[in-house]
């Protein structure tokens, strides 16, 4: 059964969708993965660049087998790419000796037909006379064997988890990712709910790699549809669970760093793919157009946020992205963003921090004031207008609620998970007189937040260990005290590992809006504003 699932996944995978799990597989086999291409297009024929356990550089070219077969026609079609793979030297700063010869490996998720095998053998004979290493091949059977060796812990025996995994195969890949479901799947695989579980470092390393494969398998339908947002969210959840494992079992960085970087690459690649798609679109309508009017601004809000994060990300590493397009896109669509619930606030804040970087005027600051006004108006206990739902409610639920299709039993008036943090962010900008106007209405709202018991539990989708904090603000507040508190950060309520990666922390709070607390916002403000 397990083998069938793996086979099924491999059969339906494209070179782009099995690129990341294959890189995880290599990493777990002792390879040092140095580079993965962004678009699975060609970078001189090399989709993955790695160094094997003997220190020899390796270049991998991934090819999807049509109908499970790699034929002579395919071989002829990609012949130039293969020549580049073999003959062009690897140019990567981590490979010190530019003249060192490299291994070239063709990877396919099918089997190689006889005529193609003969052609490869002929090609290898030529390489021998040219004093080149022969072209190696990795086929479906090899990948399955490698996967079985690497992931003996992939599938827990509980049917519940296995069923969830199979259900992912039936998901409509054009839709949103069921985030909680993926989180539960990873949680059970990683035994995070079992507080007494103990594992060796080796076992944990394998579990992290297994979780990457499970994530990839779960995303199959979404990847097929080129649903970049689902991919971004899926890999962000994986990254969060990797952090949970690393923090909970206090793993040394060398045991998780390479897997972390691969997930980061997966997210970055999906982000750049999203950017490329946006560049080619004339509008942002998706699917059935008439009913899309109800969902359009929700989508735009998320897209502006993701492009803002990509714009910020670019400042943290030197990867080239089209900054001009990002800036134009974000500024064009910013007025169409929608505060559909408190879950949208991290997305609007992502835009705010990006906006702050490209606009030195006071305009970005007043976006914060607008958010404060919106919350205090709609969530005022006596307000007649519809209140903003807490960040635990997801977009799709809120839209159905607004249409009267779904009813919520609890009340949202008089409370907010974001107001306190937003007040601190605005106070940091020193707009005292405006804050004096905003303060009276803010005092009618209870400041709420959730603090997990253990720091590693920040990364869990839900946890039964933690305190739901509700704070009644002081009616009379002193500006100096407020300002002092606006700059104080409680380190123990920050997700410790992710804090070192502000761009990922920002993405994390967009995917997990219910994990936000004022200290996280202040910390992000410090890190993003000082770069």
């Amino acid at each position: 059964m397990i083998e069938k699932v793996l086979e099924g996944w491999l059969d339906s995978a494209t070179e782009r969708s099995f690129q990341i799990p294959f890189a995880h597989l290599l990493s777990n086999q002792g390879y040092r993965v140095l580079h993965i291409t962004h678009h699975c297009g060609l970078e001189m024929g090399k989709d993955i660049i790695a160094v094997d356990s003997n220190g020899i550089p390796c270049a991998f070219q991934l090819k999807t087998a049509e109908n499970g077969k790699f034929s002579l026609q395919t071989w002829r079609r990609i012949n130039n790419q293969i020549r580049d793979l073999v003959y062009l030297k690897i140019n990567h700063p981590s490979i010190g000796n530019y003249n060192q010869s490299h291994r070239s490996i063709l990877v396919t998720n099918g089997f190689i037909k006889e005529d193609a095998t003969r052609a490869i053998n002929d090609f290898n004979a030529t390489l021998l006379t040219d004093r080149k290493r022969p072209l190696e091949t990795i086929v479906k059977g090899d990948i399955l064997k490698l996967a079985k060796e690497t992931y003996p812990l992939v599938f827990p025996s509980e049917l519940r988890d296995f069923k969830s995994l199979l259900e992912f195969f039936l998901e409509d890949g054009t839709s949103y990712l069921p985030k909680g479901k993926l989180a539960n799947l990873l949680e059970s695989l990683l035994y995070l709910n079992d507080l007494n579980s103990k594992f060796s470092n080796k076992e944990l390393g394998r579990k992290i790699a297994s979780a990457a494969l499970i994530t990839s398998i779960s995303l199959t339908q979404f990847s097929k549809e080129l649903n970049w947002i689902a991919e971004i969210e899926g890999w962000t959840i994986y990254l969060a669970y990797l952090c949970a494992v690393a923090q909970r079992w206090k793993l040394k960085e060398k045991l998780w760093k390479s897997q972390f970087e691969l997930a980061e690459t997966a997210i970055f690649n999906s982000m750049t793919n999203l950017l490329e798609e946006l560049k080619g679109r004339t509008n942002l309508i998706e699917g059935e157009p008439l009913s899309d009017a109800l969902f359009y601004r929700v989508r735009v809000t998320y897209l502006v946020a993701l492009m803002s994060i990509l714009g910020i990300w670019q400042k943290f590493n030197s990867d080239n992205v089209d900054c001009e397009f990002i800036s134009d896109f974000v500024l064009k669509y910013r007025t169409k963003m929608l505060l559909w619930g408190e879950g949208a606030i991290p997305q609007i804040l992502a835009f705010y921090w990006y906006y702050r970087k490209i606009d030195a005027t006071s305009k970005p600051d007043f976006l914060l004031a607008e958010l404060i006004e919106d919350i205090t108006t709609s969530n005022n206990p006596k307000s007649k207008i519809e209140s903003l739902a807490p960040p635990y409610y997801q977009t799709q639920e809120i839209i159905l609620h607004k249409l009267g299709i779904k009813k919520f039993e609890d009340i949202f008036k008089g409370r907010s998970f974001f107001l306190k943090g937003l007040i601190y962010l605005f106070t940091r900008k020193n707009w005292k007189q405006k804050m004096k106007i905003l303060w009276p209405n803010a005092t009618y709202i209870m400041f709420e937040e959730f603090i997990p018991k253990e720091n590693w539990q920040f990364y869990l989708w839900r946890t039964s260990n933690g305190v739901h904090k509700a704070e009644i603000p002081r009616r009379t507040e002193n500006w100096k005290d407020l300002k002092k508190r606006a700059f104080q950060i409680e380190d123990d309520i920050l997700p410790q590992l992710l804090v070192n990666y502000p761009h990922l922390l920002l993405l994390f709070i967009c995917v997990y809006p219910h994990r936000v607390n004022p200290s996280i916002l202040k910390c992000l403000d410090d890190k993003l504003m000082n770069t």
Binding site: R415, K436, H468, R474
Partner: protein, 203 residues
């Protein structure tokens, strides 16, 4: 195994749950006045009051059990009537309403006793304890300055014994009571205005 109808049964259970919730509201209208907030995770709640005092509350489970034997189920099925089933659901709703009511009012008792806000009505005329209560509690006004009167929750038997409606009418009509009530409300309005004007950022 024998044939089952799991998906349909899930819907039936969902319906039963909704029925119990609706019945509970009907049986205990006072507890339905209390706003409900869904807490999605964690094991306790921390309340930080305006004076920065803190109160931690562990979550408590309110539950009611429905026990039946196979014979009973067969009887319900054979009777071709759901009457007995709904009787059982009503019992559950009653038990849950009573437990919830008790838990909420135990909490209120605990809070008012801690801050010394208890008014004893024992052996005193109703009007005296009424005025003392009104004086002790916080009363709010709407944006037009109109009073938002607090609600009195009383055991229906007690309400009948003390002739609550007559007593309240007397407060409205008796000139001396009316004057005393207006004086208190005037004071409450000033307190409310002070509270409102205290909502400011200073310095």
């Amino acid at each position: 195994m024998l044939i089952d109808f799991p998906k349909e049964k899930e819907k039936v259970i969902e319906f039963f749950t909704k029925y119990i919730i609706a019945k509970k509201k009907q049986l205990s209208p006072s507890s339905s006045l209390i706003p409900r907030v869904k807490v999605f995770e964690g094991h306790k709640q921390l309340l930080i009051r305006e004076d920065r005092t803190r109160e931690e509350t562990e979550f408590k489970l309110i539950k009611s059990e429905m026990r039946y034997n196979i014979k009973e189920i067969e009887n319900i099925a054979l009777a071709n009537s759901m009457e007995n089933m709904f009787k059982k659901l009503d019992e559950i709703a009653r038990e849950l309403a009573s437990k919830e009511f008790k838990m909420v009012f135990d909490k209120i008792d605990e809070a008012v006793e801690r801050v010394g806000n208890v008014v004893s009505a024992k052996g005193r005329p109703f009007t005296e304890s009424f005025f003392e209560t009104i004086e002790k509690i916080q009363i709010d006004f709407d944006e037009n300055g109109k009073i938002i009167m607090p609600k009195i929750i009383l055991n229906p038997k007690t309400a009948e014994e003390i002739k609550l409606r007559d007593k309240l009418r007397e407060i409205e009509t008796n000139p001396s009571y009316k004057m005393r009530f207006e004086e208190i409300i005037e004071k409450k309005w000033e307190e409310w205005r002070d509270r409102k004007s205290a909502r400011r950022l200073v310095g």
